[in-house]
């Protein structure tokens, strides 16, 4: 015991020196490595001559990043070690007051979001120009309501729908975007050919997608794990290839354009005497439609959440979660795992279909381009990053991933740092990957790794992620 006590102060003294040394070594290594790779650049000029450009500034940045990062890592190592020790609690902690009320605060914010944006924009306009104009705020809000609000909420809804299949029932589905496509094309085709209204086609798109969910579910009932993932992936591709090649119906890669917009109880969002703006005596603007769509997708997403929360307290929801934990035990308790799996596929697919028909109504144009595998992967990434089964976690993950991508377009100052030909959007996949690795290292179970029990006898205690399983298929 004693010698350790003696050594300890010495060690903590030398941490700084050690970190400094390691930082310098890392810097030197980086210098050696990048000196020729980054420090010099060869180009051909117009006369085909080779010219050497020196980039000492960039090289300095590289070296500094390496040195500083190494220094910080080494310097904080003892502290992190200490924290790891104290943080090893198996029981999930009771959520703080903020985390408990977070869903309510978030919900309230979502409902006032468009007006908040308009007000803030109008205020900033007034601050900079001294002119108060509410209308300019309305016009400026288009980008924030459409690109941020609607875009994020579509993905929130898709991720919540997929959460039923992956997070609750534990069935890995890599082809979820297929149901999104079925919903979108159902609306696009039926509305352009038969002129059905959005409100009729919205539930129909859900039903069609659910039917396709069952059709996919049947052959994959016996599959698990990797095999299930591959078959669902193939299913997603099959749907996309059908959309491309069945040109007589889908017009192939050209896509279907001129899809009818949604209406508010029969009031169309068009310029003119019968339009929404004219009826309310507002100046003509496309923003109203976007704000209407924002509230529509918000309500659809909330419907998904409400159904998910209700279903978890139903026997079927518990059977899904039990299926994720242990399928054989489920069958030994008299649960028909076939119908249980199929209902999970169908319910998840239905919400995908709703989101799809909304997507078609919002874009006014659908093409197979929108339903590539990458979309499935992004939606699945949201579910995994957010924490499988947790609605709040998944919503945060969707907001961060989609909002983050949109935000990258806004970062003009990066051009001043990296030069004018730097386009931050191109790096979004790199940043996605980085973010995923960071989150998975820091929180392997996602943002919200714990699970809320569906029933309790004395006290609702959250179940730590240590105990829950990810499912086997």
């Amino acid at each position: 015991m004693k010698p350790i006590v003696d050594i300890e102060p010495k060690e903590s003294d030398s941490v700084f020196a050690k970190a400094l040394k390691e930082g310098l070594i890392a810097g030197a290594l980086a210098l050696g490595l990048f000196c020729l790779i980054v420090g010099f650049r060869t180009d051909q000029n117009i006369r085909n001559e080779l010219i050497l450009t020196q980039r000492w500034g960039l090289l300095t940045i590289f070296v500094l990043v390496a040195a500083v990062a190494r220094f910080v890592i080494t310097y904080t190592a003892p502290w992190r070690e200490e924290r790891k020790k104290t943080k090893r609690v198996v029981e999930a902690k009771e959520p703080s007051a903020f985390r408990k009320s977070f869903p309510k605060i978030g919900l309230a914010l979502l409902f006032v979001y468009p007006f908040l944006v308009i007000t803030i924009l109008a205020l900033s306009q007034w601050y900079f120009t001294g002119q108060w104009s509410y209308q300019s705020g309305v016009q400026g809000s288009l980008k924030y309501v459409d690109n941020f609000g609607i875009q994020i909420l579509i993905y929130v809804m898709l991720a919540w729908g997929l959460n039923i299949v992956v997070g609750l029932a534990g069935l890995l589905d890599l082809g979820y975007v297929a149901f999104y496509a079925v919903g979108a094309y159902s609306y696009a085709l039926l509305s352009t050919h038969f002129g059905f209204s959005f409100w009729l086609l919205l539930p129909m798109a859900g039903i069609f997608a659910a039917t396709w969910g069952v059709i996919l579910g049947f052959p994959v009932l016996r599959l698990r794990g990797d095999y299930l993932a591959i078959v669902t992936l193939a299913f997603g591709e099959i749907i996309r290839l059908i959309l491309i090649n069945w040109t007589a119906v889908t017009k192939g890669t050209f896509g279907i354009s001129g899809i009818a917009k949604a209406t508010l109880f029969g009031i169309p969002f068009v310029p003119g005497p019968n339009g929404f703006a004219a009826l309310l005596g507002l100046p003509n603007s496309g923003v109203y439609y976007k704000i209407f769509l924002y509230y529509l997708i918000l309500l659809l997403a909330l419907l998904t959440a409400w159904v998910t929360i209700r279903l978890r307290r139903m026997p079927i929801g518990r059977a899904w979660e039990a299926l994720r934990e242990d399928e054989i035990a489920c069958r030994s308790l008299g649960i028909n795992t076939t119908t249980t799996k199929l209902t999970a596929f169908a319910t998840g697919a239905m919400f995908g279909g709703f989101a799809g028909s909304f997507f078609a109504a919002r874009q006014g144009f659908v093409s197979p381009e929108s339903f590539v595998f990458l979309e499935s992967a992004i939606i699945l990434a949201m579910v995994v990053l957010g924490g499988m089964g947790s609605l709040v976690g998944i919503a945060i993950a969707a907001a961060v991933m989609i909002g983050g991508t949109e935000l990258l377009r806004e970062l003009e100052f990066l051009k001043r740092v990296f030069g004018n030909d730097f386009t931050p959007e191109l790096y979004r996949m790199l940043l996605f990957g980085l973010a995923m690795i960071v989150v998975m290292v820091w929180k392997p179970r996602g943002f919200v790794g714990s699970r809320e029990p569906s029933a309790f006898l004395h006290k609702r205690k959250v179940v730590s992620g240590e105990f829950t399983k990810e499912g086997h298929g």
Binding site: V90, E91, V307, R310, L311, R313, M314, P315, I316, R318, A319, E321, A322, R324, E325, D326, I328, A329, C330, R331, S332, L333, G334, I335, N336, T337, T343, R451, P453, S454, A455, F456, L457, H458, K459, R460, K461, V463, S464, E466, F467, T468, K469
Partner: protein
């Protein structure tokens, strides 16, 4: 209970000509037996005898190659189990099962585990989710009833306090009990338990016996169990079926089976070399089993003496009975040396050095208390305590600080006696044994 079993002698499960082949391997070969309604039937046999395969056939997890499994429900309905899917067997034929390696839903809470087991009735009352989703009161009432039923079983298995903890967080013994309660929540008429006492300590397996007898007495559920722990089999079962290499070698009451030479041969083997092997295995397994092995060796030696001098020893039957005893009752093998073997060592070597102040030369009245009833004392420590002259609860209850230190020295403990509060436990047990001098049978020794 016995009278009830005799009164209602109809078989709940009839297994006829059951065969199960996996490729060339014959796991079960032409097996016939019956499980009586309201009785506890035990299926025993050496490892690999095909017991679990029989279970998997009964519960539909395997489809038997040949044979008929007839289940007769209380209301007279008959089901041919070999034709039904596994989940239908639980749903319609009311057969529930547990697993050899516990299969709980570890990420769900204890309560949720019991609610999942009530899936089918809840599904009906929720109108296949539709009515429940719309918030109809029928489902709300059914859900409340389901929680009450879960609470009833939680009280039975003594886990009410941990109802809201994840099932994976429970200790092993509690997980076993929870799995039984979960199976009972499906309201079965036949409960199939696959080694329910595996991995339980003496106290837990005594509790398990009580739980199973309780289940039968209160719900009238018939029980079919696979078990290696003979203290469970011999104490609670009404009927024992012994399998070896997929064939039935014995069938009857526990006493009958225990003395069946075929069973003894199946469990012990017959050659001397095999006995030596058994002892080596026991040594490798741990000190606990050495007593059993030594005991076995001594009876084996006796047997040889008898064979060598048949005229000198008139009591030939004793060794055979002793072998049967060892074979059938692991429990007694631990209990017997206490009475037979350690007592002489204690008297011969007087009391070992470093003993506590109130050590006795031998148990009062020649009958030591069951010290293993104290939480923290296992068979090994009991023997050590006996060797140091501690035989009774009141002796431990009277320990002073110095005695505790002395005892911990020879038990090689570090403060465990105080931590587990042996002295208070012993006081309580001593008082109990004074109130009713014959302590109730616990079957605790293992």
């Amino acid at each position: 209970m016995v009278s009830e079993v005799q009164k209602n002698t109809s078989a709940i499960l009839r297994v006829e000509r059951l065969s199960m082949k996996f490729g060339g391997l014959i796991a079960i070969n032409d097996l016939n037996f019956e499980a009586k309604r309201g009785a506890i039937t035990a299926l025993i046999g050496p490892n690999g005898a095909g017991k679990t395969t029989v279970f998997n056939c009964i519960t539909g997890f395997y489809k038997p190659t040949e044979g008929m499994l007839t289940l007769t429900r209380q209301n007279g309905e008959e089901y041919l189990l070999e034709r039904m899917a596994d989940f239908v067997i639980t749903k319609k034929a009311k057969v529930a099962r547990t697993f050899q390696n516990i299969r709980l839903f570890s990420g769900l809470t204890v309560l949720e585990n019991l609610l999942v087991a009530q899936h089918n009735p809840l599904m009906l009352s929720s109108g296949f989710t539709v009515l429940g989703l719309l918030g109809f009161p029928t489902y709300r009432k059914a859900a409340a009833d389901a929680i009450e039923k879960a609470r009833f079983w939680l009280e039975k298995i003594n886990l009410v306090d941990r109802a809201d903890d994840p099932a994976g967080d429970l200790p092993y013994g509690a997980q076993r009990r929870l799995e039984i309660a979960r199976a009972m929540c499906t309201e079965p008429e036949l409960l199939c338990l696959d080694e329910p006492a595996a991995g339980l300590n003496a106290r837990e397996s005594a509790e398990l016996n009580k739980l199973l007898l309780d289940i039968r007495a209160e719900t009238g559920t018939s029980i079919l169990l696979i078990e290696h722990d003979m203290s469970v089999v011999m104490e609670i079962s009404d009927h024992v079926v012994v399998l070896e290499y997929g064939t039935k070698i014995s069938d009857g009451t526990p006493d009958m089976v225990k003395n069946d030479p075929k069973v003894i041969a199946a469990y012990l083997g017959v050659e001397d070399e095999e006995v030596v092997e058994l002892i080596e295995q026991a040594e490798a397994a741990g000190v606990d089993d050495i007593t059993a092995a030594v005991d076995l060796l001594s009876t084996e030696a006796l047997h040889e003496i008898v064979e060598a001098h048949p005229e000198a020893e008139p009591v030939e039957l004793i060794p055979a009975a002793a072998i049967a005893e060892v074979a059938s009752s692991k429990a007694r093998s631990a209990r017997k040396p206490v009475a037979k073997k350690t007592q002489p060592t204690a008297t011969a070597a007087a009391i070992k050095a470093g003993s506590t102040s109130n050590a006795l030369a031998g148990p009062r009245g020649g009958k030591p208390d069951k010290l293993i009833l104290i939480k923290g004392i296992g068979p090994v420590n009991e023997r050590k305590l006996n060797e140091h002259g501690i035989f009774h609860f009141d002796q431990i209850a009277a320990w002073k600080k110095a005695d505790v230190i002395a005892a911990e020295t020879y038990l090689a403990f570090d403060g465990r006696i105080a931590r587990e509060d042996w002295i208070a436990q012993a006081k309580k047990l001593a008082k109990e044994s004074q109130v009713k001098p014959a302590p109730k049978k616990t079957g605790g020794a293992k």
